[in-house]
Symmetry: C2
Subunit: 320 residues, 2 copies
């Protein structure tokens, strides 16, 4: 990685730690520490930093914006954590379940408002506009996902709208604001946004594949979570489209009715393979990685452009 980005990432970490603290509510860093500090992949901040540096930015606000997108990401993770009834039924620890629910919500709100302060500090209304729109799109995607869950009629078009919202919108905005703060020309800013969007779509498809064990390099993901939560992700949607009557009955029972028994996850994975759903989903992921790379075509050659290219490879590499 370019040395300049390594220094930038250190500055982002420092800013995140400083802004996460709350004099008035010391409990906040406790809740967020494991999420923000544990050195996640910092994929989204990296997009902002790389985009800004690609266009020669040498100010300080790319650090603010990188911290902003990480805070937004962490806030959505916390809000996703709000567990549903099924999680309780599955016998997870319920001792402090609801206290944790409430903490997740409120600390998520806190991080979101902190991100808001950080972006205001940049003084760029364009940046604020982009991130405000991204926030609305993310929330819409999450709500849409909630309504689509357990609905066997969910189409790939609906799935695409869900993931454009809940995942790709932030990837796109993260990359775009990097270009905007660096005063890149309009065409380049559009290219950056398109790249970020395609990368985000690819990332989410890969994530959904990994939930069915799409690779041996699973990076700690919990196989079967989506299945148990009866989420209609691309592999399942593709498998249902090609299911025979017996297969349809199976999906109806486990997804619509939610009657899941031992061995059902294995059956699901067998059906995903038999119908080529895994393979076809993998092809879709590669397709989006290609779109991301092609979006970079017109941008100036540099180490940073190569880094963005490599990130597309990295994201899709987890399953191919």
């Amino acid at each position: 990685m370019a040395a300049v980005l390594r220094d930038d990432l250190t500055a982002v970490d420092r800013l995140i730690r400083a802004r996460m603290a709350s004099e008035n509510a010391p409990r906040i860093p406790e809740v967020t520490a494991h999420l923000v500090e544990a050195g996640g992949k910092r994929l989204r901040p990296m997009l902002t930093l790389a985009a800004a540096r690609l266009f020669g930015y040498d100010g300080l606000f790319h650090i603010h914006l990188a911290a902003t997108v990480e805070f937004i990401h962490t806030a959505t993770l916390l809000h996703d954590d709000v567990v549903d009834e099924s999680a309780q039924r599955r016998g997870k620890p319920t001792a402090n379940l609801m206290w944790d629910n409430k903490s997740s919500v409120l600390v998520g709100d806190y991080l979101f408002s902190r991100s808001f302060q950080l972006m205001v500090e940049t003084g760029s209304l364009t940046v604020l506009d982009i991130l405000a729109n991204a926030s609305a799109t993310i929330a819409e995607g999450e709500v849409l996902q909630l309504s689509a869950a357990q609905d066997l009629g969910t189409t790939e078009a609906v799935y695409m709208r869900v993931i454009q919202g809940k995942t790709a919108a932030l990837f796109a905005a993260a990359t775009e604001v990097g270009g905007v703060i660096a005063k890149a020309d309009e065409g380049s800013v559009n290219a950056l946004r398109e790249y970020g969007n395609a990368l985000g779509v690819c990332f989410q498809i890969v994530d959904d594949l990994l939930d069915y064990g799409g690779s041996t390099a699973r990076l700690g993901k919990n196989v079967g979570d989506d299945f148990r939560e009866r989420k209609l992700t691309m592999p399942v949607i593709k498998a249902i489209a090609k299911a025979d009557p017996k297969g349809r009955d199976f999906w109806h029972r486990v997804i619509t009715e939610g009657h899941q028994e031992d061995g059902d996850l294995e059956t699901a994975m067998r059906l995903l393979t038999k119908t080529n759903a895994m393979q076809d989903t993998r092809a879709a992921a590669m397709d989006w990685a290609g779109k991301a790379r092609r979006a970079l075509d017109g941008l100036p050659e540099s180490d940073l452009k190569r880094l963005l290219n490599d990130m597309a490879d990295f994201v899709v590499h987890r399953v191919v």
Copy 2:
């Protein structure tokens, strides 16, 4: 009410309905309809409108800002709705409890992001700064309240910090941005903020009184909710400070240990009266209403100033 404000409020309602809709997630208006459309008191939007009009504003952005503060308020209500374990134990309907939890969180996020879009449209970085800071203060107040709950050692100073955050910060910001958008001078903007803050503190103290039946005109509030949730509000804090050993044992059992039996709420209310906690809390509320009115002293005389004055009377009138 001044006719101009009545028209403004109609415009705010129209804007709220327009921005609440979501093409991508039709479920959103379902969840928010009863909260936003049911014609709440619109106290906070009124503050914004009155402050802007008081300084002769004749643009359109006060409508945006009034809708903004109502969206923020509704978002926090939705997030407050995330029920805790005790609510379940008390035998509330649990059928869709968790689906509703998740909806509350995500739709709250959506409204918050919508409010963010509305304020960006005003193009005022000062306004954005004020509302970003208010958002952070609100979230801190909510988290602080969570940590203070069930803690008998909570002081009035902590209680004041909680309500300055969770309630007064938005009242203050709502009033302040009205002045800012109207380009009021700095002294007047400060006075408006101080007024809004005092009004918000007064409002919350009154609300906390009403939770122990502080008045016959209860406006639909559920007496005893705070008691059951073991919240340390001003009446309880004052009662504990003056409790005799038997009283302390009682508070320890019902608040710290959470062992509540039939008749305990009545005992609590008796102790609140016996120790003068109700009366002293009522005096504190009147004190803050007075502070709110005095903050208006230097502002130009007009119907709108009289309206702000009346609002202070209205807020405290619920308990005196």
